[in-house]
């Protein structure tokens, strides 16, 4: 019974990782850059929802909409201001810039909201589901899992079935060739960032609902874990991010429950190394032959 409980705890943790990893992997898959500020956009989303809910009369949908819009604008703006000027330079420069953006966002949040953790508003009251005497499944976990699945399916449809999706795939394969074929590369990358950031806002919402407290550093640790999850599942692969996130959460929670709480992160990373040794592109990553 306790095994199932730990498994459920892992699923709940994993679904948050998966939701964040989706944004990571999508931006990486198309813009070919690691947006390390993704975790902090989650934090911005959570704080926007927090502020909107407490100042705009507490209508949850208005608050969530505010969070989505703010994150989308922020994501597109960061891309335009911080990443676009470096598009031609080495990937390392963009990576460092992304880390810079991450610290910038944390510091701004620290300035505005201070360091104390804030209680996140209970926008929906989701009652836990009890099975038998001992098994409790949090309502938030089920909703997070469901939403993550729906979003995953939505992104896959968008990429594979729509015109903008085709443009994204083209940009992902070769920016120069895509431009020559009449694809608006700038617009496509902007849209990618917009969607990625909207996903971050959703992740912020569910993080807040699950853990009840948010702070300026809320996004950083889950952001790193989600990045690991994305690599685990094969970075660039949408279902890979989902599977990677869930597996990561389950492995983490089971090692906390049965091996050692202090070692759990170490075990997670050991599993990552093992996977990468056996399958260097991650669980679902595709090996793309470089043509010279």
């Amino acid at each position: 019974m306790s095994f199932i409980s730990n498994l459920i705890g892992g699923l709940s943790l994993g679904s948050i990782y998966a939701l964040i990893a989706l944004g990571y992997t999508m931006v990486y898959g198309i813009a070919k850059m690691l947006n390390f500020a993704h975790g902090d956009i989650i934090m911005v989303g959570a704080f926007t929802i927090f502020t909107a809910a407490s100042s705009l009369g507490g209508n949850p949908f208005v608050a969530i909409l505010c969070g989505l819009v703010t994150c989308v604008i922020l994501g597109v703006l960061t891309e335009k201001i911080a990443y676009k000027p470096l598009r031609g330079s080495s990937p390392l420069a963009v990576l460092i810039t992304a880390i810079g953006v991450s610290y910038f966002l944390q510091s701004v949040a620290l300035l505005i909201f201070g360091s104390t953790q804030r209680p996140f508003p209970k926008l929906f009251s989701l009652s836990p589901i009890r099975i038998g005497k001992d098994l409790v499944i949090k309502g938030e976990s089920i909703v997070t899992l469901g939403v993550t699945l729906v979003i995953m399916a939505g992104i896959m449809l968008l990429i594979n079935k729509t015109k903008i999706g085709k443009a994204m795939l083209a940009v992902s394969e070769d920016k120069g060739a895509a431009q020559l074929m009449g694809v608006n590369v700038n617009r496509t990358i902007s849209i990618t960032f917009a969607i990625g950031s909207a996903l971050a806002a959703v992740a912020g919402l569910f993080y807040g609902l699950t853990y009840n407290f948010i702070g300026p550093y809320t996004g950083s640790m889950p952001g790193i874990k989600a990045f690991v999850a994305a690599v685990f599942g094969g970075i660039g692969s949408i279902p890979g991010a989902m599977i990677g996130g869930i597996l990561l959460g389950v492995i983490e929670n089971l090692s906390k429950g049965y091996i050692s709480t202090e070692l759990s992160d170490g075990i997670v990373f050991a599993v990552l190394i093992l996977v990468l040794l056996i399958k260097p592109t991650g669980l679902l990553g595709k090996k793309i032959a470089e043509k010279v």
């Binding site: 409980s5 730990n6 705890g9 943790l13 360091s115 209680p119 409790v136």
Partner: protein, 381 residues
């Protein structure tokens, strides 16, 4: 011409000297007391409370004529609960002429600062740095209980009040405060025949999700969870234990102070019945506490916590020791320290946090008290 200017300058210097000599006594000097603590960062509640509590005491003392005729100049620097920042803050204060150090507020930074403070031989009194090593050198004293004492006292209290038979512990393995209390608690609990059925750890990087730990505690069928941790992590544990259907009592130490504010109105139910060892309750009825709470509320708009009280007591302790040692403004930092070290062993303070005397190791001698959260406020047990 040049000569004339030179002469004039010399004359001016001489006359300045004479003025200085002619006016002896302490009223020319100020006593610079420096404070260090986190006013931003994860432990900001503590640092802000200490800063404000000490300021209140300084204002009172200055209004009443100061210490030995000297006005206190009180400077405070933020350390963000970070050892490196704390050492920088210490250096900044030394540059500004600090003579006595009241701080730091939290254990880890305090240990780092203790090292440099010893080199300068400056008198240090920490209101709330409770790790043993905070005052391992003889220039340092403290107002609060140390960690082992809190652990020992908690176990004793649980046994005396017969609060539980089967105890679980959740502690922060990456934090010296938490591990210090846990060790002593375990030792004392073993001695008293209390049964520790689960001991669950977390680290500062994994302090948000406690489902695995709570599940293990549930499996162990504990009836009390001991939380020797700070209030931020405790807030996660308390809310998550509610949703995990864990129905145990919770007992913590001074780090839990602040958990009511942290949980906020919407999670207030999670704090109900939580017990903690704390030397000070703002709602107590004695005249001293009443006046302090009123003044504090008037000045800062909120009720003081025990950290504010510790800091208030620390400033009055410095005053009493300075008066006992007859500290003069022209004494060097090191001389002041040597004089105060001897005086600390002779004074007795009847402060907000209890009647205190000090031993040569810097530890205060006072009685532990415990509180319980009932309807969102602390109530004496």
């Amino acid at each position: 011409m040049k000569k004339a200017i030179c002469m004039l300058l010399v004359c001016a210097l001489l006359s300045l000297c004479l003025v200085g000599c002619g006016n002896d006594g302490n009223s020319d000097y100020t006593l610079v007391i420096g404070g260090i603590g986190p006013t931003t960062g994860v432990a900001a509640t503590y640092g802000t409370a200490v800063k404000n509590g000490a300021q209140l005491a300084v204002n009172e003392i200055n209004a009443a004529g100061g210490i030995n005729g000297m006005q206190i100049k009180y400077l405070f620097e933020d350390d963000q609960h970070n050892p490196e920042t704390a050492v920088n803050a210490y250096n900044t204060l030394m540059d500004k002429g600090m003579q006595i150090l009241m701080g730091t507020v939290t254990s880890k930074p305090c240990i780092a600062v203790a090292e440099v403070a010893r080199e300068d031989n400056i008198f240090q009194i920490t209101p709330s740095g409770s790790a043993v090593d905070c005052i391992k050198y003889d220039n340092a004293f403290r107002i609060c209980f140390n960690d082992p004492d809190q652990g020992t006292a908690s176990a004793q209290y649980i046994k005396q009040q017969n609060l539980a038979q089967k105890i679980a512990i959740i502690y922060d393995k990456s934090d010296v405060y938490s591990t210090g209390i846990t060790e002593k608690f375990e030792a004392k609990a073993g001695e008293l025949g209390l049964n520790i059925v689960a001991k669950e750890a977390f680290t500062s990087s994994s302090a948000t999700d406690f489902s695995a730990q709570l599940q293990n505690i549930k499996n162990a069928d504990a009836d009390l969870v001991f939380l020797p941790i700070y209030y931020e992590a405790a807030a996660y544990i308390l809310t998550q234990s509610k949703s995990a259907g864990l129905e145990t009592k919770f007992f913590g130490c001074d780090g839990l102070d602040g958990v009511i504010d942290q949980l906020g109105e919407q999670n207030a139910a999670a704090a109900e019945g939580v017990m903690l060892l704390t030397p000070f309750v703002a709602t107590a009825e004695d005249a001293k506490t009443k006046k302090f709470s009123q003044d504090y509320k008037a000045a800062y708009g909120e009720m003081p916590n025990q950290f504010a009280a510790d800091a208030y007591d620390a400033i009055y302790t410095i005053k009493a020791a300075c008066e006992k040692a007859n500290v003069k403004g022209d004494m060097s930092v090191s001389d002041i320290c040597n004089a105060l070290k001897a005086a600390m062993l002779q004074i007795e303070i009847d402060g907000l946090t209890g009647k205190m005397t000090w031993s040569a190791n810097g530890e205060p001698n006072k009685e532990p008290k415990a509180m319980k959260i009932v309807n969102g406020i602390y109530e004496a047990m």
